[in-house]
Amino acid sequence: MASSSSTSGSGSGSGSALTERRGIPGAQFVEDVQTYLTQSGLDVGSALAFLQERLQQYKVVEMKLLAQQRDLQAKIPDIEKCLDVVATLQAKKGTGEELITDFEVSEGIYSRARIEETDSVCLWLGANVMLEYSLEEATGLLQKNLDNARASLEVLIADLQFLRDQVTITQVTIARVYNWDVHQRRIQQAAAPTAQE
């Protein structure tokens, strides 16, 4: 999961930048705009177009990651609720009492259920599959799912942070290339005061 950082080999010599992370290309940091343009052989227009396109690609990936993050953030409380229920059933086990609950039969319609002492629960695994587990196994499985979900969420958040950094770098580079161009034009105009356009 930990991407190793590689010192950039290309001419612009950005410190210790990651060149990519899990399929997301790293944005190359530009030390000096002049050098960057000379080395890439691009004129200002093409360089700006290239950077803008990169920015768009980053945005697309960001949308995707944000959607995944929302899914995970919805899934985690669901798993926690399931763990809660299993824990409650487990607590009732020793007492010999029944658990009486009101549950939703359909939207707005509730019915009462009497749950006697039980050793097992059924867990919905997805894909129209439901398996019966003992209370301990169920707790174990749900806990494992919860831990996996939380770990995935952390990785996802780190990906998003990396991505946002690349977006920021690209935006700053665009601004600098643009400013450099404006600056160059001003110098040229100042150097040729008699050549009025």
Partner: protein, 126 residues
């Protein structure tokens, strides 16, 4: 970010990293604000619930566990709610602390970046 009028201020890798860090902190700040709002609502709801409990004279309360409402004796509900309130207020406290820390770091970075870039950079909320 505003585009300066063709100024010559060079952007070093360290500057870029500061800008990146500011961006990250700003994002985290907004996330924290949302999380704090949700935690406060949750706290208020629990407070209301526990007040209702005091007023009610029923012995058995329907307490939501997962997706169902279990019939739970009033005392147990009281202690459960107390526990949930504990957890939520601790979480709220941690979030507020993190928010303070993030704001402080952002203020630091603003000082550094404005010192170097002056008008060429805009770090305010749009």
């Amino acid at each position: 970010m505003q585009q300066g009028g063709g100024s010559e201020t060079e952007v070093t890798w360290e500057d870029q990293q500061n800008i990146n860090k500011f961006g990250r902190l700003n994002n985290r700040f907004h996330e924290l604000e949302d999380e704090i709002k949700i935690a406060k609502e949750s706290n208020d709801n629990l407070e209301d619930a526990s007040n209702e409990l005091i007023l009610t004279d029923e012995e058995v309360v329907r307490f939501q566990i997962g997706e169902v409402f279990a019939h739970v004796p009033k005392d147990e509900v009281e202690s459960r709610i107390e526990q949930m309130k504990e957890v939520t207020s601790q979480k709220l406290e941690k979030l507020e602390e993190e928010k303070e820390s993030v704001l402080a770091q952002m203020a630091e970075l603003k000082k550094i970046l404005y010192a170097k870039f002056n008008d060429s950079i805009n770090l305010e909320e749009d």
